[in-house]
């Protein structure tokens, strides 16, 4: 049983994959985590890691499936790198077991594990050429020389490194070094590739290219990739599923779409994308809907399967693009709140409206600039009405 499904009833309801520039897996229908009969390729079972008094990883249970591109996401110090290093064998868990393909590898040394890691610093051997760096892992296996040359050439071809074969790492640019590190990692054809902040040292444009390259390599080799990152956009772009960690705990494991649409906590809602959160108290729970008395006397109603009790303090999260903004008062009397436009961010295709509501909260709403359908342009200092449908908001208890 996956922790995501155990903890989050919404993870199993099929929410559509996020539309986006995805080229790699999952193809539509790639969702091995939904199949309870499929054995995971990696299983963390009750993993805890303490450094003296500090708990870096706290009782994490997590399944990762074959051919997944799995992201561990969180701010620095949340334990994501420690979790990855335990899988690579550089750290011993204080408690719990780690399984790869059903086999307990908790006590295996790093050099006997079927995983290869790409380091944040790339850790290329400075005294070896690109070619020898990539072939390093194969030489350890005692593979015959011609076979090594073949595999090294294959890896170099895949990452367009052939012309650098005889160079030393310090004669390469950052982007080239990053590709050598990846080539060295996949040359051994491991079952699982671990990536520890692999693109952190690249500038933004190069990073985006590299993300697509990672996805291409992951798809063509059919390998399971596990990436550690603090960059939510990167995780959203590359991953089939994301595990969000905070202070050593696994907070939510779900697809990028699910994490975006149904964040479990205020922390995740704020961490991934822009979000407006209205605070309030639960006033009524009935047939799949929760009603909230918000600050300022407004009434909100939203569809939710979250278990809450009347009187409980909750947050209502709304993505800016889900909020309608208009000059006319909507007919509905729930999910409506008046305000004044304070600021407009015009971004060409869309505009951001920053609205100060009557209770004094600042709300961001998005509106597409489809010129001829706009009945009246909204401008600064206009009194406006914000409203949203009952299925737009997400109730946050955490």
């Amino acid at each position: 049983m996956d922790v995501a499904t155990a903890r989050d009833p919404k993870a199993n309801t099929s929410s559509p994959q996020r539309a986006g520039p995805r080229t790699a897996a999952p193809q539509s229908g790639f969702a091995p985590w939904k199949n309870p009969d499929l054995p995971p390729i990696v299983r963390f079972e009750g993993i805890t890691k303490r450094f003296d008094e500090f708990v870096a990883v706290n009782n994490v249970t997590l399944n990762i499936y074959e051919k997944e591109f799995f992201a561990l996401l969180g701010p620095s110090g949340c334990g994501k790198s420690t979790l990855l290093r335990m899988l690579a064998g550089f750290e011993r868990p204080t408690d719990g077991r780690i399984f790869v393909a059903g086999e307990d590898i908790t006590d295996l040394p790093p050099y006997e594990r079927p995983v290869n890691m790409m380091f944040q610093s790339y850790a290329l051997f400075p005294h070896m050429t690109v070619e020898r760096n990539i072939g390093f892992g194969l030489r350890q296996e005692g593979m015959p020389k011609d076979k090594i040359a073949e595999r090294v050439d294959e890896a170099m071809g895949m990452l367009e490194l052939r012309q650098f074969a005889k160079r030393k790492p310090n004669q390469l640019s950052g982007g080239q070094q990053q590709r050598v590190a990846l080539a060295r990692c996949i040359a051994k054809k491991p079952r699982i590739v671990l990536l520890d902040e692999p693109l952190g040292a690249l500038d933004k444009k190069l990073r985006q290219q590299a993300q697509f390259e990672l996805m291409r390599i992951q798809e063509t080799t059919g390998t399971t990739f596990i990436i550690v990152t603090h960059d939510q956009e990167e995780a959203m772009t590359v991953a089939s599923r994301i595990a969000v960690m905070e202070k050593g705990l696994l907070v939510q494991v779900a697809t990028p779409g699910d994490i975006y649409e149904n964040p479990k906590t205020r922390y995740i809602a704020g961490f991934i994308g822009d979000v407006n959160v209205f605070e309030g108290k639960v006033s009524k729970v009935s047939d799949g809907c929760i009603e909230i008395d918000a600050n300022g006397g407004y009434k909100f109603k939203t569809k939710s399967t979250e278990t809450v009790t009347v009187g409980q303090q909750v947050g209502l999260a709304l993505r800016p693009e889900k909020i309608r903004i208009g000059l006319e008062k909507p007919t509905s009397d729930v999910n409506v709140i008046p305000g004044k436009v304070e600021d407009i961010g015009y971004l060409g295709s869309i505009s951001h409206y920053h609205v100060r509501t009557a209770p004094g909260e600042r709300v961001t709403a998005l509106r597409a600039n489809a010129a001829h359908t706009v009945e009246q342009a909204i401008t600064w200092e206009d009194s406006v009405w914000l409203d949203w449908p009952v299925d737009a908001g997400v109730v946050l208890t955490g």
Partner: protein, 300 residues
């Protein structure tokens, strides 16, 4: 105008060290070299010719010859002294390397907060006079010294050890005295190695021992070369250690040189010995510089 002043300024900076080398190295060297081409004389100073303006420079130069050098190569005592010095210096360098490497490695891998303390412990012996430390070794190594007494108390040996006045004592003295010169450059190069390189090696299937030979050791080679030269060069010309610990058994060029100067008062021959020693030592220095250049070219 501005380039002239900047040229001048550059000379202010690099001039003094060059002047220093000129006055305290190059000129003394030429004096010693001239001496080595002279002949012994019972006079003050004890050699001839001495330069005087009345004689003229041509006459002065014509009296110089390479007699001392041909003599050096003709007498097996000097050849053997050189060879023995090189041998002792070579093996004590290897021994020092073997002892120093694990210590430097341990220092480099120790918690960061310990490293200054460990470094301090390595340097600490320098706070005592070198001569006193060698005398202390006499007290340890002599037959009725601490080492023999201690081992006899433990019942490991029944007779006192005969180490004093042997080549073994010289090896012990050299390894002990020059250990810091080996540890410090080794530590400097080991400490620079990114620990994730070793993790990467292990991750790629290399067992710790193989990872050491494939990654750590090659990357520490600059430190190995520097340390070996810092030990080898002074060890070849070492005088105090073989004189105090080696007794009459040990033949080393430093001792031979001393005997020529002070017992035989043959300054010209002693100078020839010194010049030849310098030439012998220039070879490893040139080798080292070549190696350093290669490292620099490799861009590390």
């Amino acid at each position: 105008m501005s380039t002239r002043t900047s040229d001048l300024r550059r000379w202010y900076v690099i001039g003094p060290p060059y002047l220093w080398l000129l006055f305290f190295f190059l000129i003394p060297f030429f004096i010693v070299f001239k001496l080595s081409l002279s002949d012994v004389a019972t006079a003050i100073p004890p050699y001839t010719p001495t330069f005087s303006w009345s004689q003229g420079i041509g006459k002065f130069l014509s009296q110089l010859d390479f007699e001392n050098y041909t003599f050096l190569f003709g007498d097996p005592l000097y050849v053997n002294s050189y060879l023995s010095s090189l041998k002792i210096a070579f093996f004590s360098t290897i021994l020092t390397l073997v002892v120093a490497y694990p210590m430097a490695y341990g220092m480099a891998r120790a918690p960061k907060s310990w490293q200054p303390t460990l470094m301090m412990l390595v340097i600490l012996p320098f706070w005592t006079s070198f001569l006193i430390r060698i005398y202390a070794w006499i007290a340890i190594l002599k037959p009725e010294g601490f080492l023999s007494l201690f081992l006899m108390k433990l019942g490991i040996i029944s007779e006192p050890l005969q180490i004093m006045n042997t080549t073994t004592a010289v090896y012990i003295g050299i390894v002990y005295s020059y250990l810091p010169f080996m540890i410090l450059p080794l530590y400097a190069s080991l400490e620079k190695i990114n620990p994730s390189l070793l993790e990467a090696a292990q991750d790629l299937g290399s067992q710790p021992w193989r990872a050491f030979w494939q990654v750590t050791f090659p990357l520490s080679l600059p430190g190995v070369f520097a340390g070996c030269l810092l030990v080898f060069i002074p060890a070849v010309g070492e005088f105090v250690i073989p004189d105090l610990l080696g007794g009459s058994d040990t033949l080393m060029i430093g001792k031979t040189l001393w005997t020529e100067f002070f017992n035989n008062r043959d300054w010209p021959l002693a100078s020839a010995v010194a010049v030849l020693l310098l030439l012998v030592l220039i070879i490893p220095i040139v080798l080292f510089q070549r190696q350093q250049e290669m490292v620099r070219e490799a861009g590390r």
